[in-house]
């Protein structure tokens, strides 16, 4: 979060400086494409995490589709109108559904999605510990047979260069 904020601030400041330079040096320093770099930054940040419905595999920020351009313009308008990021997202979700969110909202349907990896991790660790314990028990109960020991020795010797 902090990282993004910092990047955002730095980007905004740099863009502003560029804008001022552009005025000073007349057609030497290229002007930022966006009228308002701060709005643009926020727009990109929001639309990067939204899915374009036309091509479905690009973000709204990256898509060249007509609808994506219109929606980016719409988002710019909403930002200028003083809407918060959540309100902008809500605007799109109410029209196109949860499908547009690349970062699924945390709600009952997605509990398993968000919790799943950590459940898997816990299950993995539990299974690992149980396995190591059982293995130790079994190995102490049935020590290596003579034949196995010889083979293991041979293999080990084998591996020494």
């Amino acid at each position: 979060m902090k990282k993004k904020l910092k990047k955002f601030l730095r980007g905004g400041a740099a863009a502003l400086a560029a804008l001022m330079l552009a005025h000073a040096a007349l057609a030497k320093e290229a002007a930022p494409l966006a009228e308002d770099p701060a709005v643009e930054q926020r727009m990109v940040k929001i639309t990067e995490e939204l899915r374009c419905l036309v091509c479905q595999n690009e973000s709204l920020a990256g898509s060249q589709a007509d609808l994506a351009k219109d929606l980016r313009e719409e988002v710019r308008g909403l930002i200028k109108a003083g809407k918060s990021d959540d309100e902008v997202r809500e605007f799109l979700v109410s029209r196109y559904g949860d499908f547009v969110l690349y970062r699924p909202q945390v709600k009952p349907v997605t509990y398993l999605l968000w919790g799943g990896p950590f459940l898997l991790l816990i299950a993995g660790i539990v299974a690992l510990v149980r396995y190591l314990r059982r293995r130790n028990r079994q190995l102490t109960e049935t020590p290596l047979s003579e034949e196995e020991r010889q083979r293991a020795e041979a293999l080990l010797k084998d591996n020494r260069p």
């Binding site: 990282k3 595999n57 083979r151």
Partner: protein, 651 residues
């Protein structure tokens, strides 16, 4: 005529694959030496037939035979020869034929390089490969015949998707498929060993170089795909967590786990069941990936045009191949011996933890990839799971993996203690702390993410150096596979550096540029010189010229392009990149902003991407490390020494 010959060869190869799949396996069970002896000639025949068939299809593309439906839908006369030839695998049918060709190729390689293996083992391995081959050939023949004719033939073919008209198409799919399909060999060895009840160190030793070889190809394939999208999509992204990318990444994760687990099984005889399961899983995930891409259950940039019959066929194939393997596993695994004992603190344990983490990562990626499908299947609506989710989940699980990369190789087999390990690692810890604290300051401002990333990279790198120094002090030169491991781990550290720096210090600027305008990004000056119109072989291009300079010194000129392939396709962005060891300068041309294209203003996007090549460089080092490991002498000199071993190996 030639397409019919190709089709006939394909039908014949299906028959041969059935022979190759059934007789040697039956022969091995019934001790019929003649049947077993069929394995090698059948494999050779299957390969030659499929190669011939593939050649026929390639010929149809070369001469633009539009009476073949598949050629007409994926190529046209305007297409440059290079793309016309690689368009063979630009669509579903042809790429599946490539898949099958690769499978036959791997099988042939096993047949050729397995002279030292026991007869029954060879028969079983080739038999399993034959059955898989037959299943996929049936898929091609019955649902996806690339030789179908279209009457009357159209005068001109439809074009190949402009996105695919890139050198990436020439290299990326073949490499990726080589990797995907290559895991079939590890799979076949595992199944053969399960059937024979001979899960032992010899089996691990035999399958190791094959697994590593497949892993190298998969690593290269994924790397090339990533490099391709970096170049092609115009905004310099290198990984998108697209379902199809995930489909190739999951076998890679499991394959990586498998390589590590095989090391334990070969050296210490432990984790046999686990290794077998991983070998089955790696190939199953390759098949699952094929299903996901070709059935249309998920939307993806890579998805092929879909046909429900194909989805059903491949799902049934998946169910048979993987289901029967897992049944066999469930039946045989309980009887497998445990192998060498090891203490809680030992290299074995660290490798096991690494395996668990890699598998958890794979499980998380699978969950995220399939979750939209799960939600939809239960009628709970449509959702998307995209990069923000995967990044949020992937990074935290990867952090301990990175920490372990330094520890595992330092720990001893069988038994070690934490104190000694820490004793060996304290220099690395100091380097890591220094790298995490000092380097970000030098690089342009400290933040937690950069600190952590660089600390981990420093940790891995320093541990490698000190371990190498220790090892070289000992008598005897280290083996090639030891060097391979070091190199691959070093590649991982480089990869981490690249990812960390580019995702935190990248700078970008969207500007309106008229000829003569300049923009400063990352300390470099980009001067826009204008745009000229040019004709490519099958497109019109607007070629921009952007002069690079730094501190008044001119460094060169970049030529970003905007290409229009006509036929109502979207204009394609060809970014121009000045690649450097410590930074890439990346320029992509946007839309013209004035009516005058040549002298007017254009939207231009400029990026400064520090250390971004380290991402692919790191992956290449990993692949190179794999190559060293696979080329280790001991895999070639094993003949006499291990032959007596398999007797009575099942305990």
């Amino acid at each position: 005529m030639i397409p019919e010959l190709g089709h006939f060869a394909l039908l014949l190869s299906l028959f041969v694959a059935l022979v190759m799949g059934i007789l040697p396996l039956a022969g091995a069970q019934l001790c019929q030496h003649r049947w077993m002896a069929l394995a090698r000639p059948a494999t050779t025949a299957a390969f030659l037939l499929i190669a011939f068939s593939f050649g026929c299809l390639t010929w149809a593309f070369y001469v633009s035979d539009f009476s073949v439906l598949y050629v007409a839908s994926n190529s046209n006369t305007q297409l440059p020869t290079m793309y016309r030839l690689s368009a063979v695998w630009g669509g579903h049918e042809g790429s599946l034929l490539l898949w099958v060709l690769m499978l036959a190729g791997w099988s042939l390689a096993v047949a050729v390089f397995s002279r030292q293996l026991p007869e029954a083992m060879v028969a079983r391995v080739l038999g399993v490969l034959g059955l898989v081959l037959a299943g996929l050939l049936a898929f091609v023949v019955f649902t996806s015949n690339p030789f179908d004719r279209i009457l009357p033939p159209p005068a001109e073919g439809r074009s190949l998707n402009p996105l695919l008209q890139d050198p990436g198409l020439v290299y990326h799919p073949p490499m990726l498929y080589m990797g995907y399909v290559g895991f079939s060999v590890a799979f076949a060895f595992a199944i053969a060993a399960l059937i024979a009840g001979q899960l032992d160190a010899a089996w691990a030793r035999w399958s190791r170089p094959w697994t590593t070889a497949a892993w190298i190809f998969l690593t290269l394939g994924i790397t090339l795909g990533s490099w391709w999208s970096y170049n092609e999509l115009g905004w310099g992204g290198w990984w998108f967590w697209d379902p199809v990318e995930n489909a190739s990444f999951m076998p890679w994760l499991v394959g990586t786990a498998l390589i590590h687990s095989l090391a334990v099984t070969e050296k210490r005889g432990s984790f046999k069941n686990w290794t077998v399961l991983l070998a089955i899983a790696a190939f199953s995930l390759s098949l699952l990936g094929t299903f996901l891409v070709r059935s249309g259950v998920l939307t993806s940039v890579h998805a092929f045009a879909t046909d429900p019959r194909r989805g059903i066929f491949i799902l049934i194939l998946l169910a048979i191949v993987v289901g029967s393997s897992l049944m066999l596993f469930a039946a045989r695994a309980p009887k497998v011996s445990l192998g060498g004992a090891f203490a809680l603190v030992s290299r074995e344990t660290f490798l096991l933890v690494n395996n668990v983490l890699l598998l958890v990562t794979c499980g998380a990626v699978l969950l995220g990839t399939l979750y939209p499908l799960i939600v939809d299947a239960f009628g709970l609506g449509k959702i998307s799971v995209g990069p923000p989710y995967f990044n949020a989940v992937f990074v935290p699980i990867m952090l301990p993996v990175l920490a372990l990369v330094a520890i595992g190789p330092v720990a001893r087999w069988k038994h070690d203690d934490l104190k000694t390990i820490l004793g060996r690692l304290w220099p690395a810890a100091i380097v890591a702390a220094a790298a995490g604290i000092a380097l970000p300051w030098l690089a342009g401002g400290w933040n937690g993410a950069v600190g952590l990333g660089l600390a981990l990279a420093g940790w891995i790198g320093a541990a490698l150096v000190s371990q190498t120094a220790d090892r070289l002090k000992k008598p005897g030169a280290p083996t090639a596979s030891w060097w391979g491991m070091q190199l691959a781990h070093f590649g991982l550290a480089a990869f981490v550096v690249g990812v960390t720096l580019v995702s935190n210090y990248q700078e970008e600027r969207d500007v309106r540029m008229e000829p003569g305008d300049t923009v400063m990004v990352g300390g470099y000056t980009f001067k826009f010189l204008g745009v000229r119109e040019a004709d490519g072989p099958n497109y019109r291009a607007s070629v921009g010229s952007v002069e690079l300079s730094r501190d008044g010194k001119t460094l060169g000129t970049l030529y970003p392009e905007k290409r229009d392939y006509g036929l109502g396709s979207m204009p394609m962005t060809e970014a121009a990149i000045d690649v450097g060891f410590t930074r890439d300068l990346y320029v992509s041309l946007g839309e013209p902003l004035t009516a005058d294209r040549e002298n007017g203003a254009w939207a231009v996007r400029v990026y400064f991407k520090p250390f971004v090549v380290w991402i692919w460089g790191g992956c290449l080092l990993m692949a190179l490390g794999g190559l060293l490991a696979a080329a280790d002498r001991r895999y070639r000199l094993r003949v006499k020494r291990t032959l007596p071993a398999p007797a009575g190996a099942t305990a």
